[in-house]
């Protein structure tokens, strides 16, 4: 029996939404088989990574806290990728946002006032946007590939954290640990559900995604992003400047990554530490794709990714599986999703046997 790909007349909307779900399911099935084949407890791994975080209500708060930064960064990236602007340095922009917010927190240390957190939020967003402005500048002025510059800047920003917490920002009372002092009360994000770790960042993430969805589907800004990404030449003909779009895409995605950095440092971390870069910026790339570059989809994709993160930690303690298994599952999910993309434009047809008989 043979199969053949046949082009659809119009892209299938059903497949746009069905393939991400299929990718998650396939990852669980194939992951269980593959992990068993190479000598791990495959079924256990899938159960702990994908299901335990959902069935164990105690883990739900972790899901929210992990999903929030993924959603915020993922929303920004989904906007940039729509415009065909490949910002893959969100991790660096997230770090710079965290550092900018830390700077405000340290400068206002000991002070009280409602304005400190908003100021940190502005600083964090601006920090992320400013860092993303570097690839934007080089891309628009000189045509330098933004993939490489944004990524290289991420590696550099990690070193900046190390330097700052080792020398100028080091906690004098920290017994030599390379970390800043813990933020004052006014610079820490409040929890919104008492006795949990769910902080203000979680509802902010949802609101950001909803606003982004509205803007992307209804506004000229959203249209501009989409048209520049789909057909840059047509966009220019329609009166949209490609350079302006590149700037906007990078500033928005960088700014949101920076905002996520602020929320992380003021929320779960409450101080800057060398372990601040937690790969949210990279995982958010998968989130953006799994969410079909649609802010509403990103909410669900962010939750799925958060499940694998929380589940990865669970699997580490319960069945002793390395945390890095999470990365393998996440990559697998993206592979399946990308493989499924072809079904949007093509359908699989069984080749009718008699066709082979025409040319004996």
């Amino acid at each position: 029996m043979q199969f053949r790909l046949e082009k659809r007349r119009e892209p299938s909307q059903l497949m746009v939404y069905a393939t991400p779900v299929a990718a998650v399911v396939l990852t669980m099935v194939v992951g269980a088989i593959l992990f068993s084949l190479i000598g791990f407890d495959g079924v256990g791994a899938v159960r702990e990574i994908f299901l335990t975080p959902l069935t164990n209500s105690f883990k739900w708060q972790d899901l929210g806290v992990k999903a929030a930064p993924l959603i915020i960064i993922g929303v920004g990236l989904s906007i940039a990728y729509r415009a065909n602007v490949w910002n893959i340095g969100a991790e660096g922009q997230y770090i710079m946002g965290g550092l900018a917010a830390t700077w405000v927190a340290l400068a206002t240390h000991g002070m009280t006032g409602w304005w400190i957190l908003p100021l940190m939020l502005v600083a964090g967003t601006a920090g992320g946007a400013a860092y993303a402005a570097i690839p934007a500048f080089f891309k628009t002025r000189l045509g330098v590939n933004e993939i490489l510059t944004s990524l290289m800047l991420t590696y550099a920003s990690v070193q900046l954290i190390y330097y700052l917490v080792r020398a100028p920002w080091k906690d004098p009372m920290g017994m030599g640990f390379p970390q800043t002092r813990i933020f004052s009360e006014a610079a820490r994000l409040p929890t919104i559900i008492p006795t949990t770790i769910v902080h203000l960042g979680v509802p902010i993430a949802i609101v950001v995604a909803l606003i982004a969805w509205f803007i992307m589907s209804r506004s000229v800004f959203g249209y501009q992003m989409k048209v520049v990404g789909a057909a840059p030449h047509a966009a220019r003909y329609g009166g949209f400047s490609e350079n302006k779009t590149i700037w906007l895409a990078l500033l928005v995605s960088g700014g949101l990554a920076g905002m996520a950095g602020m929320l992380e440092v003021a929320g779960p971390f409450q101080r800057m530490v060398p372990g601040f870069p937690t790969n949210y910026g990279f995982t958010a790339i998968i989130v953006a794709f799994l969410g079909r570059l649609n802010p509403l989809g990103v909410i669900f994709a962010g939750i799925v990714m958060a499940i694998t993160f929380v589940g990865g930690e669970v699997a580490q303690t319960t069945i002793g599986l390395s945390n890095s298994a999470t990365g393998v599952f996440q990559a697998m999910m993206l592979f399946f999703l990308l493989a499924g993309d072809i079904l949007i434009r093509y359908r699989i047809r069984r080749v009718v046997p008699q066709a082979a008989g025409v040319n004996p």
């Binding site: 007349r9 119009e10 892209p11 209804r218 506004s219 000229v220 800004f221 249209y223 989409k226 048209v227 789909a230 057909a231 030449h233 047509a234 220019r236 003909y237 329609g238 009166g239 400047s241 025409v358 040319n359």
Partner: protein
Amino acid sequence: MPFRLELTGITKRFPGVLANDNVTFAVKPGEIHALLGENGAGKSTLVKMIYGIMQPDAGEMRWDGEPVVVPNPKAARKLGIGMVFQHFSLFEALTVLENIALGMDSKIPSRELEARIRAVMAQYGLLLDPHRTVATLSVGERQRIEIVRALLLEPKLLIMDEPTSVLTPQEVEQLFEVLRKLAAEGCSILYISHKLHEIKALCDTATILRGGKLVDTCDPRQETSRSMAEKMIGAGLKDIIRAAGRTIGLPKLVVSRLSTAKTGHFEVPVDDVSFTVRAGEIFGIAGVAGNGQNALLDALSGEIRSQDKDAITIDGFPLGLLDTTGRRKRGLCAVPEERNGHAAVGDFTLSDNSVLTARDRLGMVMLGLINSGAAKTYTGKVIAEFAVKALGPASIAGSLSGGNLQKYIMGREILQKPSVLVVSQPTWGVDAGAAAAIHQALVDLAAAGSAIVVISQDLDELRALCDTLAVINMGHLSPARPSGEVSVEEIGLLMGGVHGQTEARDAIPA
């Protein structure tokens, strides 16, 4: 002597179309045989079967009297069939020699290949430096590569698919010399075209196809252009819509000393172009492809902005510094040559494509938000008035056929009632019915008082449609002349400027 090629009862069916219906004809050795027909008459399908790209559903093919099956182009070349395609398959960044080497079926050491290439070039007067990069060559020179490539195989039948559509009249004459020489040496030539005067000048026999059927095989020298055209088109020739009571008014679009910067390596910029189009006038710009037409369209539409505000004015209002949006607001709409990806976004719905150019003129945007209802209504109107075959405003643009997409695009601009419309290649690759509809819409728009600029390579189209004609050549525009007063030869000479210059470049040793 047997026929070189003999086709009997060749039939080819595609879903919904009978592309070739029982076609029978024969080509003698050394004969130049025309295959004549309109777009869609089945000429291309027929030669694709001869060259082994497709297989016939029924019928027999004989080669030098022997029945043959040609399963693929390689087998065709082995028989001695060479083909020069309408669209060249060349590699811009590679040299002439490398391009030819890639097209050879067997590996030949490059020194030996170069010697053979030079020999063939010398024999047929096809001058070309084998070490030049293709990107630096003119269209005519590129065609020579394809011809040399075919001749190296010492073909006994050479198929030329619409070879002159991109050439200047002078280049055409040179090509004919080569073909006549080949025929004199015994090579048969199957010459596909719809240009009657060329066939009368070149061919010994003409086989005319219409709607997939063979209409007639005749001696073109015994026929008049009109009689052959009637066989090709069927019904009596329809005369051109033309001026029909249009009155030409005051100057509307005034372009003065418009120039663009050189952008890419191979894009020809516009150099000091000036012209005036009056209300109700259709102004045609002829020229061989690649002489600055794209830059001119971009400079007029606003994709390339001018440094000088007065370089472009409408009713005296300066537009030079404005971008496309600003110019559209002032009534200047444009349709670029490339439909999918430039004039329209293939992945978007028609409705979203209407937002692309009509959003400001038709009030589809309020406070930065798009009124998708308005876009949908307008798109529905375009579909209805221009008879676009589409399921509705939500159809994906890329799913439409070329002609239908072009009708939609023209409709989208024309229904905005622009005071100036600039269009490039309005009917390129569009079937005759759609082309007529588009021409009629342009004439109607002009009759309503708009100024229209048509950039086209199709001289017949321009002469039928336009009141005034000018020729673009290497970015320069010739003075405009009333189209009734210029002959084809004059236009040809103006277009041929390119040719002379490339020859001069060739003369300088590399």
